[in-house]
């Protein structure tokens, strides 16, 4: 479903991604972990071209998104994204946040978009917040709305960029629970995260990145019980025995 070949990304002189090869199948719940600066977020941003890849190929449903004639806006409708800092639209209420893209981009009727929005609000447990503005919500609520907003486009895959890193500890669970439900329903997900428990228990695949490269691509249980590389051992030692 997503296929990445020899992806490189430079920021000026800085070589951030150094030849990533990765294939994601439908239904994969892939956790991407690694130290900060290892290129995890950049990789995610390249997949929907929020960052322009410098070299290599990315195919989404066999369509080369680096091709000149690729309609990236059409691709992005299939690839949802959830951000660390939520990025809800502060001048729109919750319902408008969710219905905006479906009505504007997918040309869904307002009634239909609102019906979907209420279903999604119900799913993330925030039906009573339809007319609230983002500034009135807690971090956990904002992130659940952001997930609902991504789901409203009915994407084939959702990219999560550290979805719980900006949350108070108490609010992390409510967001992870929503993500857990999505995983159970078979949604394809790529999750950059520092939540090792979540990576271990919910993901069915784990990618460990360091220094712009994929160091390990394995099953979560194997990774946590018997990491192969020294770099992964060192990383796990630091994050698990803090």
């Amino acid at each position: 479903m997503i296929k990445i070949n020899n992806l490189h990304k430079y920021f000026g002189e800085l070589h951030v991604l150094k030849g990533i090869d990765l294939e994601v199948k439908q239904g994969d719940v892939t956790a991407i972990i690694g130290p900060s600066g290892s290129g995890k977020s950049t990789l995610l941003h390249c997949i929907n071209k929020l960052e322009e890849p410098s070299q290599g190929h990315i195919y989404i449903d066999n369509e080369d998104i680096m091709a000149q004639d690729c309609d990236i806006n059409a691709i992005r409708q299939k690839v949802g994204m959830v951000f660390q800092h939520f990025n809800l639209f502060p001048h729109k209420n919750v319902l408008e946040n969710i219905t905006l893209a479906p009505t504007l981009v997918k040309k869904v009727t307002k009634d239909e978009a609102e019906k979907t929005a209420y279903e999604l609000l119900n799913k993330v447990g925030l039906s009573d917040k339809a007319f609230s503005y983002p500034s009135k919500l807690s971090g956990g609520q904002k992130q659940r709305i952001a997930i609902a907003r991504a789901l409203a486009m009915k994407p084939e895959v959702i990219l999560f960029d550290e979805p719980t890193s900006a949350l108070d500890p108490e609010m992390i669970k409510e967001v992870l629970d929503v993500m857990k439900d999505l995983a159970k329903e078979g949604m394809t997900m790529l999750i950059v995260t520092h939540e090792m428990g979540f990576a271990k228990n919910v993901a069915n695949r784990l990618i460990f990145m360091d220094n712009g490269m994929v160091v390990e691509d394995t099953e979560p249980n194997l990774f946590f019980s018997a990491p192969k590389s020294d770099r992964a051992k060192e990383f796990l030692d630091k994050v698990l025995n803090k």
Partner: protein, 241 residues
């Protein structure tokens, strides 16, 4: 005291001199409002040009022309325009427009020259205000909009500009007030505005103080009213945040 009222009466009522004030004020207001409209519209266009990412030669292969890869003609044009307008006095611009462009080339009444002149001038300042407002927004807003499949234009229109406008309201109000007061130089090209009316009354009534004080009072009253009204609007806009 009765004598002073007589003086005032003679100064402003004799020969219907107050009509100069009324007409002058109407001229000032009309020029300000129409120029502000031009300023806003052209200012938005200019600000979008300065922040655009239009690089027609970015795929150029030849190393000899490598410097062209980052060349953005829109940004260049807008920056030159803003530099020229902000770097020269409004009166001089107005005189150039009046003497070089409109006389001889285009025959137009003073009123039109004034509206166009002040509009072109205000646009440069408005453009910088809007640019600062847009660039001051969280980068995540554009990312979120684009990630949802919106085009750059749609994202600008629906997500970025509405938020930027809210943020830059106070600066825009300021610019409007500056524009309103700046129109007082229009007498230099023969426009009959509020300031010119005060000058004419002063000349024909031989009273120096009162006409100017009245003009100042009217400027002050209108700017105060406008500021008060815009504070209310700002407050309303804040509520939806």
């Amino acid at each position: 005291m009765d004598n002073y009222f007589l003086v005032l009466y003679n100064t402003f009522m004799k020969d219907e001199r107050y009509m100069l004030i009324v007409n002058g004020l109407l001229f000032t207001l009309a020029v300000t409002i129409l120029a502000a409209l031009i300023g806003i519209i052209l200012g938005v266009v200019l600000s979008l040009m300065t922040i655009s990412d239009f690089r027609p030669f970015k795929n150029i292969k030849s190393e000899r022309f490598a410097f062209l890869r980052d060349f953005n003609p829109f940004t260049k044009i807008a920056l030159i325009y803003i530099t020229v307008i902000r770097g020269t006095p409004t009166v001089v611009q107005l005189l150039i427009l009046f003497n070089l462009v409109f006389i001889g080339v285009l025959e137009a009444p003073i009123f039109v020259v004034a509206v166009v002149g002040f509009g072109l001038n205000s646009a440069a300042y408005v453009a910088e205000i809007i640019r600062a407002g847009i660039q001051g927004l969280d980068k995540g807003q554009m990312e979120a909009a684009r990630a949802l499949g919106m085009s750059y234009g749609k994202a600008m229109q629906v997500i970025i500009i509405p938020q930027a406008i809210k943020k830059i309201m106070p600066a825009l109000v300021s610019e409007f007030i500056v524009l309103f007061k700046e129109t007082s130089v229009v007498g230099m090209i023969g426009g009959n505005d509020l300031t010119k009316a005060a000058r004419e009354i002063a000349a024909s009534s031989y009273r120096a103080a009162e006409p100017w004080l009245l003009a100042a009072l009217i400027y002050l009253l209108l700017t105060t009213l406008f500021t008060y009204f815009m504070r209310k609007v700002e407050k309303r806009l804040k509520e939806s945040d």
